[in-house]
Symmetry: C2
Subunit: 379 residues, 2 copies
């Protein structure tokens, strides 16, 4: 490890009791690796919607202000009173950010497993990736084939495993087809590629004709636009055709989750022979895995009693299926990294650039189709 | 079987395509029992909230009118346009009503099992109980101990098995205490008796101080009033004390289900040592099993991602646990019929009286604490 890698910049998010968010860069010493650990020079780490929860929390980014220097920029913003309760657990704690990333192993601990990684390009998950260096257990690194660039491997975990996890959940819970919302997202495109490859019918719900086009271009068969006046009919038709009774919803707020259940119920009753005032006996399920709309979820319960809505997260899912199954899913990601699981970024920025208001305004919007990659060691 | 039991009155509910509900009594021939069947003279059959769905459907009972004669009364009411879609499956079908009841076996088929029931008092479930006679499979009858009156056995199934089903669901899904809403209901009182007997902590949510008193008088320890200004604090305190992470909600509409999840999340985080921006990892569940408020369910999702809401019904539950477990639950009901599972009725009416506007106005309100019993053979 070169002298100048003994410490490095790390992005921090702090929400103060006073109701102010502060995002800044701090110089932190690089932790010495224990026997089982390695030090990775992080070269690519994406800004996922799931990172924004920690990065900006409940702050209102319309109030964001920049200060500090070009080398050490600082962003501040107000957290509305109503948002502070949910922040109670993190107040006055300076928190590192960044779920996943990739880079090159530049130093290792003394174990054989650690030493074997020296010079390798690896993908990582586990937080604190918006940093120049990350000390991590060798066993938590996913070693990539020769010739894989860190930028290609930056998003190995969250989106690939989440989309594979959706398909696996479908199989385990006895459904035969899927519905996905905000479906033109990076994750949604991956899910389409998996479903096309595995022969699974997928109903994509998007929020604009442009997003529908993105999906049709990659071969999506069922694409419905929730802004269309014929949305409920289009959705129900697709549900009748596919028999989908499981949906993954990235939006959370509003009426969409309930509309999906209503459409599934209408589809289920199409073939019902006997009136059942409790509704169809077909179980209909929506998992909310994102929060693109943090507003309330409104369910007009016109879908009987055989239904469920719940939260869904990748890490509890991986725990539930166990390490052997999780390893299988990871192996598939590596094998199809440049095809099914290829991510596309609209911007590659340094840590300093990530803290410029002009960039922040774009990635904090969570707009489908915009995706940022940070290179903490960008020259 | 006497000559005059060859036919009997049966209550019917009809919703016409024109948007009119008609409730009437029709004289129907008593079905001859097959070898495995018996004929029961129905002497007691309750009006449960779960019966009202079929009896009045989506009709607006403020528009109800009486016609017909004293012997053959007819009730009509309008179904609002908005309610007609949910009625599509039953239009222009004259439907018998009444989930459960009890009576005396007056004729049997030729099998030994059927013949053994002659003269016995039995409880039944299966619909069409608002009738003077009901032909039913002997194996579907629950034979009651000598000295049990039909009125004591009328509510053997729906409320007792539902409340036992809640406790059994709690055990199977790994929760250790329960929350119940509209908790002063007949069912809610049974649930309190079960929980007191079995040593299970139960948080009762009621909607008035009077209802709270009813429950405290039967020994309930945790009673919180959702109309109190301190409701959220009271609820959260009870959740912290009991560790309840499973709720059964009879109301359905409004914000209550979400408030319960929020309270559970605050309770779960009380002992959390590390900030987790996805919320606590403790799974929090609400099952909606009723529809006292048919309006939308509004979830302000301030309870992380480890949560679920879903529909819950008795019959799918019994199917899921299987016949051996269901038989165990039924045996407990019979053993504790005069204690834990005793029902109290505020009125006993004939079929004709059930169709009087003055009575209808009371039982159609679904008011907690009001409970009607029909005796179709009332002299």
């Amino acid at each position: 490890m070169s002298a100048d890698s003994k410490s490095g910049l790390q992005l921090r998010s702090l929400i103060k009791k006073s109701g102010e968010l502060e995002i800044s860069l701090v110089e932190v010493p690089t932790a010495e690796p224990s026997a089982e650990e390695v030090v990775v020079r992080v070269e690519a780490t994406p800004i996922n919607p799931s990172d924004l929860g920690l990065l900006i929390g409940a702050a209102d980014m319309a109030t964001a202000k920049a200060s500090g220097s070009r080398e050490a920029p600082v962003i501040t913003a107000k957290v509305p009173d109503g948002g502070m309760r949910a922040m109670a657990g993190r107040l006055d704690q300076s928190m590192p950010v960044g779920n996943e990333g990739a880079g090159v192993v530049i130093k290792t601990g003394s174990s054989e497993a650690a030493k074997a990684l020296l010079g390798k390009t690896v993908a990582m998950v586990g937080g604190a990736m918006y940093a120049q260096y990350r000390t991590i257990r060798a066993s938590d690194c996913l070693v990539l084939p020769e010739g894989t660039l860190p930028a290609e491997a930056a998003s190995c975990f969250v989106n690939p495993l989440t989309s594979l996890g959706m398909v696996e959940t479908m199989r385990r819970e006895g459904h035969k087809a899927l519905v996905h919302t905000a479906a033109a997202s990076n994750l949604g495109q991956m899910l389409n590629k998996i479903c096309l490859k595995d022969g699974i019918a997928l109903v994509n719900i998007v929020r604009s004709p442009g997003q529908a086009d993105i999906l049709r271009r990659i071969g999506a068969k069922y694409v419905v636009d929730s802004t269309s006046p014929t949305f409920m009919n289009d959705l129900t038709e697709a549900l009748v055709e596919t028999g989908a009774t499981l949906a993954f919803d990235a939006i959370g707020g509003g009426k969409l989750a309930g509309q999906i259940l209503t459409g599934m119920e209408i589809a289920a009753n199409k073939n019902a022979k006997v009136y059942n005032r409790y509704g169809s006996t077909v179980h209909k399920q929506v998992y909310i895995y994102g929060m693109l709309d943090p507003g309330p979820t409104e369910l007009t319960r016109s879908f009987g009693f055989a239904w469920g809505i719940g939260g869904w997260l990748l890490f509890p899912f991986l725990q539930k299926v166990g390490p052997a199954e999780a390893a299988k899913l990871r192996a598939r990601v590596v094998a199809e990294l440049k095809t099914t699981f290829a991510s596309h970024y609209t911007q590659v920025v340094s840590l300093q650039e990530a803290l410029q208001l002009s960039h922040l305004a774009i990635y904090a919007r969570r707009a489908t189709g915009e995706k940022y990659l940070i290179n903490p060691n960008k020259g």
